[in-house]
Structure formats: C-alpha cells, structure tokens
Amino acid sequence: MHGSPDRSRLWIRVFAAPIVLAVSTLTGLLAALLWETAGQYVAWVTVGAPVLVIAWVWVRRRSDKIGRFSRARAGK
C-alpha cells in the first residue's frame, strides 16, 4: 500500500466482501458458543454466508450460460 486514495479505494473494493464474510463467520462461530439458542440461529446465517455466496455465484453462472445458449438458439 502506498496510501493514495485510488489505491485505498481499490484495496477496499478487493477486500471489502472477504472481510465482511470473515467477520460474519467469526461472529457466528462465537455466537453459537456464547448465546445458546439465539446464537445458533445467528451462526446458521453468518457461518453459512460463504456457502450461500458460492451457491449464488454458481447459480448465476449457470443461468448466464443457459441464457446465452437460449439467445444463440433463438438467433439461428
């Protein structure tokens, strides 16, 4: 990091989502340990968030592929 505003913005753009997911995961891991039933619900959402992100990317990619395929067929 050299401290320029552009570079800081770029750094935030690259790492914002991973940091949010990491904090969310750690919160969930501790919540279930400290707050019993309520903490369990928090953990299911927050620890599960990375899995949901991957599932969302995979589904989005599949639907894009299907969309491209359908458009290509319609164009023929």
Binding site: L10, W11, R13, V14, F15, A16, A17, P18, L21, A22, V23, T25, L26, L29, A32, L33, L34, W35, E36, G39, Q40, A43, W44, V47, G48, P50, V51, V53, I54, W56, V57, R61, D64, K65
Partner: protein
C-alpha cells in the same frame, strides 16, 4: 506489491500447500463423516439407546460403578462420565490397570436409571475415521505430525490471502472468467472459494492444531498445577479402599456450587494423582459447560482436597474443541460445516490442478500462458 514480493509469497503459498496437500485431503475426507458421527453411529446401530423411564429417578453413581465393574470382571474403573446432551446414558471406562494404555480402554454405556449395560461406545467405522483423522494410527507422533500439517495449512491460507490482491485487483468480487481457459476459470474458483472460507478454514485448522497438543498440555498441567494441588499428600500410598462414589459426587457438587459432574477420574489415572479422585465439573451454559473445573477428593475419605480453575492453555483447548468439531449449533450448523469442508476440498484440489497445469505450461517450447496473466507488479 512488487513482482519479487509476489514471487516470494507465491513460493510460500505453493510449497506450504503442496507439502500438506495429501494430509489435508485426508483430514477433510475423514472429517466429513465425523461431523455426523452421532447420526452415522445411530444409523449403523453403534449408538447405545437408553431405555424409556418416564420421570424415574436416576441410579446412584456407585450403582453405575458397580454395574461397570460387573460388566468387565478383573478390570478397574478409570473414568465415569455424564454427557449433558445424553442425560439417559452414563459412560464408564474400564482397563486392566488405572494407568493402562488408552488403546486398551473399554468404553461402555449404561442406562442412567436402571444401570443396564446398553453396549460399547466408540466402536464401528467411525472409530477408524477418528483414528485416521487424529493420528493416522501413529499415536502421539502422528498427532504432532498432523498438527505440523495444520500449521502449514495456516501459512498457506495467510499467503493465499496476500496473493489474492495481485491476482484479483482488476476483477470484480466473485468474477469467474467463463470465456477464459479452463485453468483460468479454476484459478478464479480457487481464489473465490479460498477467500470466502478463509475465516472458517483458519479457525478449524488452528483449533485442530491446538487439539494435537492436548496430551502435551495435560502433561504440563499435571507437572505444574496438579503437582502443587497434591503436594500436601506427597508420599501417601494409593488408597486401599476407595470412598463411595456417591460421597465423591455429593462433595464435589458442594465444592463447586451450581455445577454438575462432567466426569470423574479414578485415583492413578492420567487426569489425577495416585491418591485422589478428580471430579471435573461443568457449568450449565453453552460456554461454561465446556470450561471444566477440577475438584480433587481424597481417594479413601472422599474429602475435598483442592479445587481450582484450569489454566488458560487448557481452557483454550476446551474452547477449541467445539470450534473444530462444529457440533455446537444443531444439525443446520453441521450441514454448513460439511459444505465448508467440501469447499475446502475443492480449494485443495483446484490448487493442486493449477500447480500441475502451470508445470505443464512451463515445459519447453510451450506458450507460458501463466506468465502472460501473472499479476502486474506495482
């Protein structure tokens, strides 16, 4: 980040990952069924089931101890434990001697009301998985070796996070370049899955490492805290007649108000001295149920000798266990744990594929596509 710095981190990431790959795959693959070991044991008929006794009073601790000794004639009791999540079952550990080898211990479940023998505990295919996962059937050296692999895994994760910046700074988060070569697609998946699971992987990896040091920590506790607790009894012979277990339990409860007995170690076992019972007490909240407090009781009279909180390193060990096993948030958390485990397998597998693909591309006379898409130094 300068090109030289990227190359150095890349070297660290490549070699820490490669060295630990096979063992991490073993840990992930054996860890997957272990997440559901209760359910699998039940399905395969290896989980003891308590009898139905609506509202009936529980048998005394001494009655359970007598039943355990009757079930294993000629052997001695090492431990009796009460699981908070299985109130209908009491588990007894017997061996040929109080300091017998752990592998020779017989673990049996008894009905908490009738003291009827319900069956052996910790047998079946899950035991093989557990041994593979914890020490690869190599005992303490195997455990420490896997702990070393866990540390390499942690270094690989940290170096992977450092490399995430130069490899993705020109891409939007969660970009998978579908139009690019297969190798680039897998690089994108590797980076994405790796970075979103980084916190979970670090926690599970490092708590696994801590668990491999359990025996060393216990030895340290015995050599320091336990030694000072039993110092006033130095030179006293092992008890000839053991105190009634009911007295031991009652006095341990008095010494730790508001706590319940998690397990009792009999005199001479690794968790206590040759002259004392050790009652390990637990609280009733999610956290305090895991932070045990030992109460030492005279083996002959059952009198309380001392009670102290465990040192920080043992408390850290006890807290690290649920964070490694993922068994403290119900079935949904177990399913999420399994999904994250599978994603880690994908990260490890794709990392290996990327390394092999890069080696192939580096062969003489071939286009070095990896060099073409190498991160731009800044």
């Amino acid at each position: 980040m300068k090109a030289r710095t990227v190359r150095l981190w890349s070297l660290v990431h490549t070699w820490t990952s490669l060295i630990s790959t096979v063992f991490l795959l073993l840990l992930c693959l054996t860890g997957l069924p272990l997440i559901f070991h209760h359910e699998i044991d039940e399905l395969l008929g290896y989980a003891p089931q308590p009898e139905a006794h609506a509202g009936a009073a529980r048998a005394t601790s001494q009655a359970v101890a007598d039943a355990a000794l009757a079930a294993d004639p000629g052997h001695v009791l090492q431990y009796i434990s009460w699981d908070k999540d299985e109130p209908g079952i009491v588990t007894a550990f017997t061996n040929s001697a109080v300091d017998g080898l752990p592998d020779n211990t017989t673990v049996r479940a008894f009905d908490a009301v009738s003291t009827k023998l319900l069956g052996p505990v910790g047998v079946g295919p899950m035991l093989i998985m557990l041994k593979l996962h914890t020490d690869m059937f190599a005992g303490q050296p195997g455990k420490l070796f896997l702990g070393g692999m866990g540390l390499l895994f942690a270094v690989a994760i940290v170096s992977g996070v450092v490399l995430y910046w130069p490899f993705t700074r020109r891409l939007r988060f969660a970009t998978i370049r579908d139009s690019a070569a297969r190798r680039v697609r897998w690089l994108d998946w590797h980076n994405l899955i790796g970075v979103v699971t980084v916190a979970w992987a670090l926690v599970v990896g490092l708590t696994g490492v801590v668990n491999t040091w359990a025996e060393l920590m216990l030895n340290q506790w015995k050599a320091t805290e336990l030694a000072s607790m039993v110092a006033p009894y130095a030179g006293k012979p092992p008890p000839v007649h053991l105190a009634s277990l009911d007295d031991v339990v009652a006095r341990a409860r008095q010494a730790a108000p508001g706590m319940e007995v998690a397990f009792i170690a009999f005199p001479g076992t690794p968790f206590t001295s040759s002259h004392h019972f050790a009652a390990f007490m637990r609280g009733d909240t999610a956290l305090t149920a895991r932070l045990l407090k030992p109460v030492l009781l005279d083996g002959e009279t059952g009198q309380v000798a001392d009670a102290r909180a465990l040192p920080l390193y043992l408390q850290a060990l006890l807290i690290s266990q649920p964070l490694h096993f993922g068994d403290y948030g119900g079935m949904p958390l177990k399913v999420i744990w399994a999904a994250l485990d599978l994603l880690t397998i994908v990260v490890i597998g794709s990392g290996l594929y990327l390394w092999l693909a890069r080696r192939r591309k580096r062969a003489p006379g071939r286009t070095n596509a990896f060099a073409r898409r190498a991160p731009v130094p800044s």
